[in-house]
Symmetry: D2
Subunit: 344 residues, 4 copies
Amino acid sequence: MMQQLRFGLIGWGYWGPKLARNLESLPQASLEIVADLNPLSLAKVKAERPWIKTTSQIEDVLNSPVDAVVIATPVATHFELARKALAHGKHLLVEKPLTANVAQAEELIELAERQQRILMVGHTFQYSPAIAELRQLIEDGELGNIYCVEIERLNLGLFRSDIDVIWDLAPHDASILLTLLGQSPTRVQAHAHAHLHPTIYDVAHLDLEYDTGATAHIHVSWLHPTKVRQVTVIGDKRMAIYDDTNPAEMLKIFNKGADIGVDPIVSYRHGAITIPHIEWMEPLRLECEDFAHAIRSGEQPRANGQAGLEVVKILTAAQESLRMREQESLRMREQELLRVREMA
Amino acid sequence: MMQQLRFGLIGWGYWGPKLARNLESLPQASLEIVADLNPLSLAKVKAERPWIKTTSQIEDVLNSPVDAVVIATPVATHFELARKALAHGKHLLVEKPLTANVAQAEELIELAERQQRILMVGHTFQYSPAIAELRQLIEDGELGNIYCVEIERLNLGLFRSDIDVIWDLAPHDASILLTLLGQSPTRVQAHAHAHLHPTIYDVAHLDLEYDTGATAHIHVSWLHPTKVRQVTVIGDKRMAIYDDTNPAEMLKIFNKGADIGVDPIVSYRHGAITIPHIEWMEPLRLECEDFAHAIRSGEQPRANGQAGLEVVKILTAAQESLRMREQESLRMREQELLRVREMA
Amino acid sequence: MMQQLRFGLIGWGYWGPKLARNLESLPQASLEIVADLNPLSLAKVKAERPWIKTTSQIEDVLNSPVDAVVIATPVATHFELARKALAHGKHLLVEKPLTANVAQAEELIELAERQQRILMVGHTFQYSPAIAELRQLIEDGELGNIYCVEIERLNLGLFRSDIDVIWDLAPHDASILLTLLGQSPTRVQAHAHAHLHPTIYDVAHLDLEYDTGATAHIHVSWLHPTKVRQVTVIGDKRMAIYDDTNPAEMLKIFNKGADIGVDPIVSYRHGAITIPHIEWMEPLRLECEDFAHAIRSGEQPRANGQAGLEVVKILTAAQESLRMREQESLRMREQELLRVREMA
Amino acid sequence: MMQQLRFGLIGWGYWGPKLARNLESLPQASLEIVADLNPLSLAKVKAERPWIKTTSQIEDVLNSPVDAVVIATPVATHFELARKALAHGKHLLVEKPLTANVAQAEELIELAERQQRILMVGHTFQYSPAIAELRQLIEDGELGNIYCVEIERLNLGLFRSDIDVIWDLAPHDASILLTLLGQSPTRVQAHAHAHLHPTIYDVAHLDLEYDTGATAHIHVSWLHPTKVRQVTVIGDKRMAIYDDTNPAEMLKIFNKGADIGVDPIVSYRHGAITIPHIEWMEPLRLECEDFAHAIRSGEQPRANGQAGLEVVKILTAAQESLRMREQESLRMREQELLRVREMA
């Protein structure tokens, strides 16, 4: 017989209600307790689900008899909450990104291992049927060797004041790259600009290199007139575009490419386009199923702590690249100032 | 009465025939002589236009009584040909980019001034009616202060072996930025990758900063499954997208934006989209008309030598940024190698 | 203080759950009882809403103290159920189409009047914000005199065995035309074909004429590879397209047209396209609000019995036109047969 | 050795110059003489092609030593001109539609046979590579049995005063249907409306039935805000859409359909979409090649007189259907008037 699972949820903001709905719909599972600092949020929970306990105290969740805790709070709070939950022997699903830096992520992974508990990160796109289809195509060699991947995630808003556009949007893309390419980049460099608020980047470009020779580029923006969510994979045999905003034609595979030769150096092939039929399933539902399965079986979920760590590494490397670029800008401006003074 | 203009054309490749057709259709103008090194190209000219002189010798063009010379040859040859033409007192239209480096462009500008001859560069997009409409919107303050411009110019091919994707495609975008923003960037940085041929970049991203605080990004690629030619301008009042591949809706103006406040820090406006009706005219035709007008009136054409120089500066700065990035990569790899050896 | 409203719902199929959700979210309103013949449907209701009474007996709804009854059953049952509900003094919302023929609709309208109860029909599109905007444009003369309206409602499925594609899909379009043109057609003719099942039309074209000279055409189909839901309005000043499948550009107004003159007989104007920003609200929610408002105020709702009757008249006229066309076909084939026999 | 072909062309309007360009580019072929009633048109011919004879007298063409005559004049003049050309022993290409009625078309076919000359009609779409691909798919059974074909050919303009929208646009669609289905319809019915000019239809719908049970619908309009040129073919195995306005995705094949069963009566299959790569070739060029080939080989061209006759039959049947519908309307209005008088 299947083990009954009881869940506790911390954070009733954007993701909280969506996670609750999916956890509740799992077989042999129940959401027992919800914590949030905002009394209005708790009142909403109570109105719709009178049978659920609500609290503003984390300890109430940790000390409750739930098997697993789901954390959907701002990233700055992830590490402390996650550490405590694991220490209390709870299985754990943390919203993306896992933590605000690499050391924290590594500590959580180690702690989960020591406690023999599941540590999972809410990288929803790892459960997208279209991404799964695309990954399978790559694994089967249908696209050939991968030259590069270009990702765009653009829209007007939603501006956040606690994190910049990279930490807000790029976790999706870093985890998509991880899924598609099956490895981490060897180099990450970034350009980013702050147009709305002087200290918070709202447009960013990340350039990634892999030791296979593949490259990738992530463009994220809070300042774009239309919603763009597109992943383009360029292989030497075929090319593919995954457009998340076009449900009827989500994945297009182009049987075309450039072949390297002698004369001409490059020649082009043009063939058919194929749009596979992808049975839609809610990725968040599949994610919650994987969490339940991992807890019950002891097997690692697809979006495990290690995947979460790799994503944090990419975000941190981008951040570091930006910090160095700014220091260099500053140094150049100082040198110029010195020159001007000397000339005076 | 309007002065009769006689033109000579050097180079019968991709642009040559297009330029010829437009020069011929100008009032009171004639194409008299065409030079090319390929006898087959000259035979084609002769077959269609038996009345035009053809030659493989540049000198035949320079010594002919034509008023103006048009150069549509590979960029590496531009400087020498252009210098000679100006020295022979010919007015001059050179295909983009003007030259392969800044010093050459500056020398040509100086020479044209000294010789009192028109020096023009074939930056066709400066004559695109849609770009003109967009520039007017910006000048009239319809978009407000410009936050950033994002440009994409992607397609499969055509790979070139004499220049990389930046020198091939980005001249269009650098000249569009110049037209739209009315100034040159203070900083240009680039990422580029060579997937097809080890030493020729086929995908590149340029990041530009302006002293107004505006930023711009150019993405050019020879490796993309679809044809993308898009310019997005983000202002603090309105936003606009110019899509060159969609003739029926080439320019879209979005009456939407993000406003900076206190609480919330950022709020959003959503209004109507407007698609102005743009009367189509062939940009190359307008370019040739401007050339003829400049010769006759002595006024500077829109795409004059100075505009050509500014474009070369951007391309050169991108190139320099890539060179430095590669040197740094090399230095890092050497240091790593040293460390490994010391440890051995 | 606002009057508390209690609702009963008959029919838990496609529309039932959607209606329930919206009725429940109205202020000062509650759904008290649900009737359906299928015990599985009732079990589903009970599982999600344990506080609601469920029954398989219509009488339980009619005899309950609810103020209003909502009927969401197959069209063949509408008349009997509606008559009883009105006879029991209930206010009434019936799913579209109101009844299976004109006489029944007229009887219900009369009965509602006699009983002084609200009779409303679920013509959701009368509450669509985009249709409301389009109607306003027409009323304000922005499109000029209306030449014609073309409507397409196409998709693969869902085939129904109780009614044909005209009675299934065209009620939407008939009610949209009624809303936009503010009058009923003077003539309705139809072509329809049955490809899947020999006696059930799956593709149909309706041609409508109005005494203003305007015409309209409705194309409905269960056999189309893509989902099309488009209304095109051609005025002599402007034209508009409402595309229900494109949320970002739902309504496009084309400032273009054809002007009648002498030489040339017709000349064309080409101006800008405008896409107004339409604040999305769920039409079904607005419909339920209008129902509640009508009950409380005694005012007629927008989609009242009369509107429902006009729609039934159009559907019936189309049906009659098809019947006559088939009789004529039959007669022609018989005559031909006779001729063949005489010749033998 | 290939026979040298000399062409004469009558009519220098919309199609004349296009036909001239393609005839001239054929191997071993020359355009020798052009006739038109408008001296300005002839002057244009002379300016661009000084070597061609121009004339306003048909007889000059007929008495010249050309092998073949191409007629690109208004349809009302086709029959007389064509009859004379055949009588003079010329091979003949007539622009679509072949004639203004069935008897004329039949007479031309008979005359061509008697004179042993090629009679061809300018049904360009029979030479469209996309239509050829679609026809091949149908012939190979890839789409299964054909349920129906829906064609739309809509745009703003160009209004013509000599013929209505059916005779202007529907010849394309009638010939496409002939090509795709390989047979003629057994019944044609039409609705048409005249909004701009009281006696010239500007919007029309044709409904066609075939003895295989297949049906087709043609919608043509001069009054539409966007350009639509779409052919949808619904088979019981697959469905296809040919969109002439989308060069990158001109033909889409949907591996989906509806299957007839018992319970449920209809079930749906959803599979991949395929967009074959279609090498673009100018249909008019292929048409001219077929004409030259037919003259040299004596083989019938694809778009032969018989195909032209079948198209005229469809147009005439539509016209007849409209005439009867109007008579019926008139009769009904008269009866109503009589009733009103009797009641007075």
